[in-house]
């Protein structure tokens, strides 16, 4: 499809603006005046509508395709959540920051406060900040809180420990806050090697970052022992909430020794992923870290009204301008309110059931490097297929031609040609059975006709793209240089 810029015709008028009801002001001084209008498209409203409607049709999405993208929890996003978020669209965040402004924003502040209380209960934490704008932002915020904790105590800390199965955001977030990274390998049983971990720990370790269940989809039964070892060094335990969907009502990170957690609302709490965002990454902490939480804090007063607290001298400050990705949080709040206690427990039970079902139906067809009961996702390897020259990516592309969004491939890095499948609780057995059949077909095709897999996909607007050319030419903007 042509770019919108390529459809531009000089002089074609855009959306009509309101007529000016005030006099035209004097021009800006010459040095401040733009010399020519920015090169935006000149297209009609119909052009815009047809272009972006047709562009949208070039995406797979949860609403059109099964999307078992491991580690991303691509569950169905209830439509009522979109409508609920729309109810809050006219409210300006500055209103609450004006003198006496809180009383004009009780609905918004109350929602945020209650969301925080619920998240604290779900994660077993004491308090929650809703300011972080995404999971990785939450991680960074959490590590900043840990740094502030150590600074306040006068601890001299230098390292953050992560398992080699961790998400890349974990070490990256810790590095953003100035820590060096110690990576601990995974033991053959699929968890961070306990002995190597013990050896790695020292008094300069600020935090241990764990995903639990981890990126292999496995729950680490030694988690409390790990926490005890960390705490013995006054290192804090950081819980990466990416996989929280597995354990709602089953395990609370705060109960088992974690001190800080971020929650990906767009994963666990059913807000749509938006083609890459916006997400939302509230952070929960234990009491010892509460003084350091970002400002402003939303507090409930004795008269049940909500207020903003800004006088918090130990606070790390602000991690975003206002109150976080509010619209995303409205959806997550509504999701929790709608499902309720039993519904949320059921989410995890069914997510785990679905993942184990897929694992059971595919383990005869694909290598399963860690053959154990999994949690909400299972990780295969295309090892068997590699013998025929077929890689995980080839399986992925075959699935595209069959109408399935591929699972996550090549992650976690510790599994050769990993295929990481997370069906989520919102998919039915019928959908999974159809997917399983196609995955088995792919395995059969890998043996019989590997070339067909190499040329997939053939049914999309484009076939496999030349990524090297893209990286070399760095053509990231439609413009004459």
């Amino acid at each position: 499809m042509k770019l919108i810029y390529e459809q531009s015709v000089a002089g074609r008028p855009g959306v009509k603006l309101p007529a000016a009801d005030v006099p035209r002001a004097a021009d800006l001084p010459a040095g401040l005046l733009r010399d020519e209008p920015a090169g935006l498209p000149e297209v009609s409203e119909l052009d815009v509508v047809r272009h972006y409607t047709n562009l949208s049709r070039r995406n797979f999405s949860v609403d059109t395709n099964f999307y078992p993208l491991g580690s991303c929890t691509m569950k169905y996003n209830a439509k009522v959540l979109e409508n609920a978020a729309g109810l809050f669209s006219p409210y300006h965040p500055m209103t609450a920051l004006l003198p006496t402004g809180e009383r004009f924003s009780q609905g918004s502040l109350g929602m945020l406060h209650e969301l925080g209380r619920w998240l604290a209960e779900i994660t077993g934490m004491d308090e929650v900040t809703t300011q972080p704008l995404a999971g990785a932002h939450g991680e960074m915020t959490g590590i900043m809180l840990i740094a502030a904790y150590h600074k306040a105590k006068g601890n001299r800390k230098k390292y953050v420990v992560v398992p080699d199965s961790s998400h890349g955001t974990n070490p990256a977030s810790a590095a953003m806050v100035g820590y060096e990274i110690i990576t601990v390998p995974t033991a053959p049983y699929g968890d961070m090697d306990l002995e190597l971990f013990r050896q790695a720990m020292n008094d300069e370790v600020a935090a241990v970052m764990m995903t639990c269940p981890n990126t292999l989809g496995l729950f680490n039964p030694h988690i409390r022992e790990i926490a005890d070892i960390a705490h013995a060094h006054d290192a804090l335990m950081y819980y990466d909430g990416a996989n929280l969907n597995a354990i709602l009502g089953k395990v609370r990170p705060g109960d088992v020794g974690f001190d800080v957690i971020h929650v990906n609302l767009h994963k666990t709490f059913g807000t749509p992923h938006g083609g890459g965002g916006p997400g939302s990454g509230p952070v929960g902490v234990k009491t010892s870290l509460v003084p350091f939480l970002p400002m402003p804090r939303i507090v409930k007063k004795d008269d049940d009204s909500y207020a903003l607290e800004t006088d918090r001298p130990a606070s790390i400050g602000r991690t975003a301008n206002f109150f976080g990705n509010f619209g995303v949080m409205v959806k997550a709040f509504a999701y929790m309110a709608m499902l309720g206690r039993e519904g949320l427990i059921q989410v995890s039970e069914q997510a785990v059931l679905n993942a184990n079902y897929i694992m059971s139906q595919l383990k005869d067809y694909y290598d399963l490097p860690y053959d154990q009961t999994c949690m909400h996702e299972c990780v295969f390897s295309a090892g068997k297929q590699l013998r025929h020259g077929v890689h995980a990516i080839d399986i992925a592309k075959y699935l595209i031609d069959r109408g399935y969004h591929p699972p996550t491939v090549y992650f976690p890095l510790i599994v050769k040609d990993a295929i990481m499948i997370e069906p989520t609780e919102t998919e039915s057995k019928a959908t999974m059975d159809a997917f399983i059949a196609v995955m088995r077909e792919a395995a059969a095709a890998a043996e019989k006709d590997p070339e067909a897999l190499h040329t997939a996909p053939v049914s999309m607007p484009v076939s496999r793209l030349d990524e090297t050319k893209a990286a070399r030419e760095q053509n990231v903007c439609h413009m004459k240089w």
Partner: protein, 446 residues
């Protein structure tokens, strides 16, 4: 087991699945979790139907004040959003997809983000842009960190005209790093240019400015860029995108990195989020950009297509050596920004900025005509301006709030000594009548 249509499997299906797995119950699947690690509590309300939920949400939203007339900005702006923006960004294929890891079935998102990057380059006068960051404040923090990497220096000079919230974010981001931040106090709502230039030294990685600044004042950054460059420092400018319909692009003024918040481009106020941050720079710094970047390429048949590119900078590959920890972007918000810009169009965008300027200038002269009220800004402003009132601005604002007029942002909390000052924002949505009503109310309150 299930009474929720969000967990669709029936008891029969669950039985079949358990049998296929070879376990007797769902609970057995949780056996890997030792009993002593099980949740000690899960005290949440009971669920409810969609209908009850929506009523509850309506009731919550209704607890905010209705029908506020906004003369406030401070980073978020009450602009027109053409109806197409909601309709098109509401296409399920856009909003229920994820990061376009598989380009063949994600060309919709990828092409749109490539078009978005192009729009940002064209607005800012820069050469490359990424696929969006979280918001304007974190974008400035990322830009600061990028400048530190690019220059391999550890000192930043930040103008006090940068939003106090944003300055706080920058400070928070850098607090644990070995970086010195020098802040230059503003004078009469503008940059103290002399003090700023004096603060520049050969360890300065960058000068961080906002244009128009928190007081609404516009600055010609050209001289500043030259001065920074003379010291080997970068000029990082945070800009208000609507102003770029009228105001010279930061690229043309010599900025090296340009950031800003995209909320005003088609994203609702929504109590502060989500919006998106944009970041743009020159081609030579592309490998130091944080976040996702979309690049153009071809497929095996030579057809044009788009992919995530330069991923080797990113956390999922580089881990702790990545340019940033950023994983998601604000894709849907950026898409809204793109659709906003495309539907308003080239001439429309210039008109929109002009309309904002005209309304604000009318408001400025109208309000300044009130006895005892003066304009603080020296020189030109865009869309916002700062008034000095004859009494405490906090009190005035609190009083006008009672009649659901948000008269402006009083500065006491952010700039000591400016207790009588008020930043007033006027967008194209404010009518002449509303401006005149504000003037009457303000006069009455003084």
């Amino acid at each position: 087991m299930s009474d929720s249509h969000y967990c669709p499997n029936t008891p029969d299906e669950i039985r079949e699945m358990l049998a296929a797995i070879g376990v007797a119950s769902v609970e057995e699947l949780f056996a890997p979790i030792p009993a002593e690690l099980r949740a000690s509590s899960f005290d949440l309300p009971e669920g409810m139907s969609e209908f009850e939920l929506f009523q509850r949400m309506q009731s919550l939203a209704g607890q905010n004040a209705q029908g506020m007339t906004n003369f406030i900005g401070g980073g978020y702006y009450d602009h027109i959003i053409p109806a197409v923006v909601d309709h098109l960004s509401g296409r399920a294929e856009f909003y229920t997809a994820y990061t376009p890891y598989q380009p063949e079935c994600s060309q919709g998102t990828l092409q749109a983000l490539f078009e978005y990057q192009t729009a940002i380059c064209r607005l800012t006068g820069m050469e490359v842009a990424n696929a969006s960051l979280y918001d304007g404040a974190t974008a400035l923090a990322e830009a600061a960190m990028m400048a530190l990497r690019v220059t391999n220096r550890n000192r930043l000079v930040m103008d006090g005209g940068v939003s106090p919230f944003t300055r706080q974010v920058v400070r928070t981001y850098l607090d644990n790093l070995d970086v010195e931040i020098v802040e230059i106090a503003p004078q009469q709502g503008g940059t103290d240019r002399a003090a700023l230039l004096a603060a520049l030294d050969d360890q300065t990685a960058a000068v961080l400015v906002q244009n128009p600044n928190f007081f609404g004042t516009l600055d010609d950054l050209t001289g500043l860029a030259d001065a920074a460059h003379a010291k080997g420092a970068l000029l990082v400018a945070s800009v208000y995108p609507i102003s770029l319909g009228l105001v010279q692009s930061p690229g043309a003024m010599g900025a090296d990195i340009v950031v800003g918040d995209g909320q005003s481009l088609g994203n609702p106020l929504s109590f502060g989020g989500p919006s998106f941050g944009f970041i743009a720079t020159t081609k030579k710094y592309i490998r130091n950009l944080p976040g996702r970047i979309i690049g153009e390429t071809v497929d095996k048949e030579g057809r044009r297509g788009f992919v995530l590119t330069l991923q080797a900078r990113e956390q999922h590959i580089k881990r702790h050596k990545a340019t940033s920890n950023i994983c998601s972007n604000q894709s849907l918000c950026a898409l809204r920004g793109l659709i906003f810009l495309a539907s308003i169009g080239k001439q429309g965008f210039a008109e929109l900025a002009r309309l904002n300027h005209d309304k604000a200038e009318f408001a400025k002269s109208t309000l300044a005509a009130i006895n005892g009220v003066t304009v603080v800004n020296r020189g030109a402003t865009f869309n916002e301006f700062t008034l000095a009132l004859p009494k405490n601005a906090d009190e005035v604002v609190a009083k006008l709030l009672q009649s659901h007029t948000a008269a402006g942002v009083p500065l006491a909390a952010y700039y000591p000594g400016m207790e009588n000052c008020l930043v007033v924002t006027v967008t194209e949505k404010r009518t002449k009548d509303e401006i005149l009503a504000l003037a009457r109310e303000l006069e009455r309150a003084l």
